[in-house]
């Protein structure tokens, strides 16, 4: 380690969101009942044929544009032929010759620094069924068979586990911003393969590439890469680099290591050829333009905008754009006329604190921007203090009641001049000794009087007004 440079390439598979599967009319949704989202074509009953889901192609094209790829003039699909019990047709419909995107690039941010990642291609394909292995039997669930998958392949342009994970995080966020996928690793919607090799710092040629397949979380991607870099570097420093073989390995979560599956020499010949059941179709320029128009601002673009247009700190802007739902909440606040800085403060402190504590999604959070505005309006009107505002916030969230209902009752600040003057004169008359000392120059007694007022009003006295009146009365 240290002497060497790592070269990393990624393959990222992401399930797309759609009503029906990519080549089948079966539902595409999470389903706990096995073999329920299934049409005859999903189990390859003889004579069934694939029918392309246009929405999936559209979403795939959008991601192709997000990655600044070139889109093909004609779209068609290839068959990838191999036998496996989770592959009902004996082939997977995918894109080999003419993927939805090639030769792309996208900018990501790693530890505050921006860097480009080069994209080899992005293609649309179908997922396989899922297998559950038991002691002496295996069960096949075809719900997943035919679910749309987007696979993107980077060039070997990354050099650390940090960069790899930053890229994956960036893409996950992009999928969500574009609303083409839930991109939930917990639901198995994202799976990655990583290719790792090492080389001398000054070397020109890449080292031997090792592929680690089917990693199901970004944490494991991080660990797998670092393990491989360490494993390969150690062998290289020991003069045993010939033991690093071009092979496919898998990541073992328990031991945090990678385990050899098969050598590249045994690689399967997938015998790709164009699927004759799906006619080649032209991708119209007008359709592409339509899709391009619908691409939303992505995380980094939003971050720049928040910093530039709303003067948010880099830190706050970064926190807000991290999740699409945060950004949407923030932007809705702005639409309601809430000041950007105020909205940002509430969101990044109280609100995120609360949803993280409760482990809920912001989408399920009771206090919508409209309700938040009720609190902020009262602060701005001076009817409540910021301390009170926070109390109202928690009360509203807990009771799932509008903040207004707490402001109108005894929570309301005493801002009535007459009422406050009355309270203050009473307090001053009861504390003649202190008034005398104050007038003789003991200035810090001012806070004592404020405290007395607050005590009397149980904190409801408008502090600004209180100070104003106190000053006037004491100066008499």
């Amino acid at each position: 380690m240290g002497k060497y440079r790592a070269v990393i390439g990624l393959e990222m598979h992401c399930e797309l969101k759609s009503n029906s599967k990519v080549f089948s009319s079966a539902r595409n949704s999470y389903n706990e009942i096995p073999n329920d989202n299934v049409r005859p074509v999903d189990m390859a009953f003889p004579g069934t044929l694939p029918v392309v889901n246009k929405k999936c192609v559209q979403d795939a094209l959008m991601m192709s544009m997000v990655l600044n790829c070139k889109q093909p003039e004609y779209m068609y699909f290839d068959r990838k032929n191999y036998y496996y019990p989770d592959l009902p047709k004996g082939y997977q419909i995918t894109q080999m010759a003419s993927p939805v995107g090639v030769d792309g690039h996208i900018e990501i941010e790693v530890n505050g620094k921006r860097m480009p990642v080069l994209i080899h291609d992005i293609h649309l394909e179908e997922d396989a069924a899922s297998l559950d292995h038991y002691f002496d039997t295996s069960c096949i669930d075809y719900n997943r068979a035919g679910v749309p998958l987007l696979e993107l392949v980077t060039e070997p342009c990354l050099s650390s586990a940090e960069e790899a994970v930053a890229f994956l995080e960036h893409m996950r966020s992009a999928y969500k911003y574009c609303d083409v996928s839930e991109a939930d690793t917990k639901k198995g919607q994202i799976r990655c393969d990583v290719n790792v090799s090492i080389m001398d710092m000054d070397a020109k040629e890449f080292g031997t590439r090792v592929e680690v397949k089917n990693i199901n979380s970004f944490g494991n991607v991080y660990d797998a890469i670092n393990y491989e870099i360490k494993r390969q570097s150690e062998l290289k420093s020991q003069g045993r680099y010939d033991e690093v073989e071009q092979e496919t390995r898998r990541f073992d979560e328990e031991s945090g290591t990678t385990i050899r599956m098969r050598s590249k020499v045994d690689a399967i010949d997938y015998k790709y050829f164009v699927d004759p059941n799906i006619p080649k179709f032209k991708i119209e320029k007008s359709w592409l333009e339509e899709i391009r128009k619908n691409i939303p601002l992505l995380a980094l673009e939003r971050k720049d905008k928040y910093m530039k247009d709303y003067n948010l700190s880099e830190y706050d802007a970064g926190v807000i754009v991290k999740e699409k739902e945060y950004a949407l909440y923030f932007e809705e606040c702005l639409n309601l006329g809430i000041d950007a800085k105020t909205a940002s403060n509430w969101l990044t402190t109280q609100i995120l604190g609360e949803i993280n504590h409760e482990e809920i999604s912001l989408k399920d959070f009771y206090l919508t921007p409209v309700l938040l505005k009720q609190i902020i309006d009262e602060i701005n009107a001076g009817t409540i203090s910021s301390k009170q505002a926070k109390e109202i916030f928690y009360k509203a969230v807990e009771a799932k009641k509008e903040p207004k209902s707490f402001i109108n009752s005894d929570m309301a600040q005493i801002s009535n001049q007459e009422e406050l003057t009355k309270i203050i004169t009473t307090i001053l008359s009861q504390n003649e000794t202190q008034v005398e000392q104050y007038k003789n120059g003991k200035d810090n007694l001012f806070d004592y009087f404020v405290g007395q007022v607050m005590k009397e009003t149980r904190g409801k006295a408008n502090p600004v007004l209180t100070k104003e009146i106190l000053k006037k009365e004491l100066d008499k």
């Binding site: 005859p40 189990m43 390859a44 009953f45 003889p46 004579g47 069934t48 044929l49 694939p50 029918v51 392309v52 068959r79 032929n81 036998y83 019990p85 009902p88 047709k89 004996g90 082939y91 295996s138 096949i140 010949d269 015998k271 050829f273 699927d275 004759p276 059941n277 799906i278 006619p279």
Partner: protein
């Protein structure tokens, strides 16, 4: 009284007039089915419990028909004549079958074929060889052997076939009936067990051209389940048969039809080509312009290999779903690979396995360019050549095969390499998806021979009309097989 030798229109009239009922027709068709089964072994399944249907305005209503066993038929055994599906009962109908059901047609049997359509002899099905009703020692050709045999035997007026190379048009020729494979995609392939998807066509056997038009009118239509299907609602085949072919131009190809191309031709071949040239002479009387054209012999000679390359490649992939895991008999073995291998080893006939090996070899990374891609290039050249002909001609007219049906044991047939193109040229109809129809055009030693008419894509009405006019000029319409002794 017997009815099943009649045409669809005659039967419809009899049904409407109340001269006969659907029940009578079904009964007669089933009786004939059993007779033909006894003699020729043409059926995988006989639907003895077939119910008669209502007679409506639809020409096909209440009339029995047969279905090749590679069409998916709901609740009816559908084997593709393969042991890999010997007990497979589908739960959905092929779109083409569904369309006929909607027309009121009554299925009475499923017919034997070469296993999954891969074969041209009608002898490789899992229930045994189909015999030719004209001569039981001969084959019907294939793959749609049972359907051809049944229609020729007068079991019913029509039966469904499928055609990847010439699987409808060759058996039709050898059985003395009409075999029609319309333009690719006019009939949905949904529910047709695939052989080679880019070449597979649904089609029909009948005993006259009008019946073929009626049946395809009912089978066709765009289907949301088949992306290669197209809207043909503006095409009405039966209505377009007016027999007026004055000024139509057809061509025949010198390199195929001239007897001088063949060294040591058999007597049958001489008679066959002579007969064909006589027919061409006759059809000029209809006002059809007949011209000889020349096509590069080298290109023609490449055709059979191109077919083998493309069809085997697609077949090996298409039939990868046959593993015995989801359907078909489960194989045995210590692990999943052994289970799949056992199923396939025991399920497929040697011929099919040979084709899978060829297909896999051709698709291998290192061979794709040389075999698969080149085959596709030559396919394109052939299709372009034919398209070029269609700029001048309405159709290409050619003799089918090198004579009448071949012997089942094969020993008496003299096969020479130079007749390969004559035997296989109808595959070009599959390469281009062209509408193509075979009609009987004579007899050699009391056995039927035929000619084929192939036109440009979407030009089905024109092709059928030419066939209709030529048929009307000859005496082979509605013929029923007479066994030669």
């Amino acid at each position: 009284m017997n009815y099943m030798h009649k045409s669809i229109e005659e039967l419809h009239e009899d049904l409407i007039n109340g001269q006969v009922t659907s029940e009578d027709l079904v009964k007669e068709a089933l009786e004939k089915t059993h007779e033909v089964q006894e003699k020729c072994n043409a059926f995988v399944t006989i639907l003895d419990d077939a119910k008669p249907g209502d007679v409506t305005d639809n020409l096909l209503s209440g009339i029995p028909f047969g279905i090749k066993d590679n069409y998916s038929t709901k609740d009816i055994l559908s084997t593709g004549s393969s042991n890999t599906l010997k007990d497979y009962v589908p739960f959905f109908n092929a779109t083409a079958v569904e369309n006929l059901y909607k027309a009121g047609a009554i299925p009475v049997n499923k017919t034997v074929m070469d296993e999954f359509g891969m074969g041209g002899t009608g002898t490789t099905g899992h229930t045994g060889a189909v015999k030719n009703p004209w001569d039981l020692s001969r084959s019907c050709a294939g793959s749609s052997a049972g359907s051809a045999c049944a229609v020729a035997s007068g079991v019913y007026p029509y039966a469904l076939g499928s055609d990847t190379g010439d699987s409808i048009r060759k058996p039709a020729a050898y059985c003395g009936i009409v075999g029609y494979k319309p333009t690719y995609g006019i009939i949905s392939r949904y529910g047709l067990f695939p052989f080679a998807s880019s070449l597979d066509h649904c089609g029909v056997f009948s005993r006259n051209v009008r019946d073929a038009a009626i049946v395809v009118d009912a089978m066709k239509g765009i289907d949301k389940n088949d992306m290669t299907s197209w809207d043909s609602s503006n095409i009405h085949l039966l209505e377009s048969l007016n027999g007026d072919v004055k000024g139509k131009k057809v061509c025949y190809i010198k390199e195929i039809c001239d007897i001088k191309n063949y060294e040591n031709p058999t007597e049958e071949l001489k008679l066959h080509l002579e007969n064909f040239m006589n027919v061409l002479e006759n059809i000029k009387k209809l006002g059809i312009v007949v011209e000889e054209v020349s096509v590069d012999k080298k290109l023609l000679d490449a055709e059979p290999s191109v077919y083998v390359a493309i069809s085997c490649a697609e077949a090996t992939s298409n039939m990868s779903n046959l593993t015995g895991i989801i359907f078909g008999p489960r194989g045995s073995g210590a692990n999943i690979n052994e289970v799949m291998m056992d199923h396939r080893t025991h399920g497929f006939s040697p011929l099919i396995k040979r084709r899978f090996v060829i297909g896999s070899y051709i698709l291998q990374k290192e061979n794709q360019e040389r075999y698969f891609k080149n085959a596709q290039r030559v396919r394109r050249l052939l299709v372009d050549t034919w398209k070029k002909l269609y700029e001048t001609y309405d159709a290409v007219i050619l003799p089918v095969g090198s004579g009448p049906a071949k012997h089942l044991d094969g020993s008496k047939d003299i096969l020479t390499k130079d007749t390969a193109v004559l035997e296989e040229h109808m595959q070009i109809g599959n390469f281009g998806g062209f509408p193509s129809i075979t009609i009987p055009d004579g007899f050699i030693n009391d056995l039927p021979v035929a000619l084929n008419i192939t036109g440009n894509v979407y030009d089905d009405a024109n092709v059928l009309n030419i066939a209709y006019a030529i048929e009307s000029q000859m005496n082979f319409k509605n013929q029923i097989a007479k066994e030669v002794k």
